[in-house]
Symmetry: C2
Subunit: 216 residues, 2 copies
């Protein structure tokens, strides 16, 4: 999103990022040129290089900010409770809300890892691992407490993340289902997948319909 | 896979397809040139146009054959049984085996839809719908028979397909888990997700370890 406050420089940088996400999502990173990007933003190509000295600096910034944003969003929404079901529900809600609001950026983050240098790829993968580790800890705690029934914590974490991120492929606001309805259905699928009692969970944490409605 | 029988023309066409899948998976469709592709195959660019008059003809052919191959593989493996649990298990096994064996083609098929003409996009989406419809029918039959517990058949089908296809993102042969082990875990996650009794299912259909081992 373009910021509405800040210096002209900050506004331009935000506009560059927004335009880059949309161009890369449409054309792919390798096919996008800095010249096309400058034209879309309405600045000279030279101006872009002030913010992003190389095209890969731009890609890396987009990906790093996406993952840092996801980790921050989770930090803000993680419940104080130790209850694995409540923590899992919060993780699912946050994951779906974050990605639906950032469809193109998610697409870019998932598809363009191939274009990062090895050192930068490692940095992005570390952020991903940190995020996935949060889910694995919830699943492990639930299994140890006998609340969840899980065969393989690592595989279950990957399956859940891919199932949830997949929402961006088909979900469009204003169609058959609202974000709140989609989230409710994904919550019950998740709870069944990990072998949790649905009843326990729905008492533990109702879907935050009001916040979802505001977020988009 | 390159064919080992057939005329030189067929061999070249197969080599072009194989090289295209790998180049598009690495660079993206928009960034790949027919000249690069010709160089990779070791033919003149003009020779490519004999098989694929336009670059988009090539992309469309790759995507159509991927989806037709998936539908054919399912036709070959679908069980004669009416039992929804046995049919669901067969669908999961076929889906995972097919996609793990075609990691790059799956990547191309999922990522490059944006580059098809509207008419061709419609044709590919029809094939996808036909494939997803098979899964929806299984889920609906299971729910109606009281064997599955499903909130939303459409959402559950999408969730399962994305969860299963996601395997290609992290699975590499020869690492911690075999295809058979991954499939077994995905089968129990699927059966729990749809609210089926795991016991009923595991009696109904053991994982075909032998076939999986041969397939790769």
């Amino acid at each position: 999103m373009a910021r509405t406050t800040g210096s002209d420089g900050e506004k331009t940088e935000a506009a560059v990022r927004e335009a880059a996400v949309s161009l890369i999502a449409r054309l792919g990173y390798e096919a996008m040129s800095m010249r096309q990007l400058a034209a879309k933003v309405g600045v000279q190509a030279a101006a872009l290089y002030r913010y992003f000295p190389t095209k890969e600096d731009l890609l890396f910034t987009l990906m790093r900010e996406h993952m840092e944003g996801l980790l921050k969003a989770w930090d803000r929404t993680r419940p104080a409770s130790d209850d694995p079901a409540a923590r899992l529900a919060a993780y699912v809600e946050n994951h779906i809300a974050f990605h639906i609001a950032r469809r193109h950026a998610t697409h870019v983050s998932n598809m363009e890892l191939r274009s990062l240098s090895p050192e930068r790829l490692t940095r992005i993968l570390k952020l991903r691992t940190a995020y996935e580790k949060e889910l694995r800890a919830i699943l492990r705690d639930g299994a140890e407490a006998g609340i969840f029934e899980i065969d393989d914590v690592g595989l279950t974490a990957m399956a859940l993340i891919q199932m949830m991120t997949g929402v961006i492929v088909w979900f469009r606001p204003g169609e058959r289902l609202s974000i709140a309805e989609v989230t409710t259905t994904y919550l019950s699928m998740t709870m069944r997948l990990v072998g949790a009692k649905i009843d326990t969970f729905s008492v533990a944490r109702p879907v935050r319909r009001a916040r979802d409605a505001v977020a988009l």
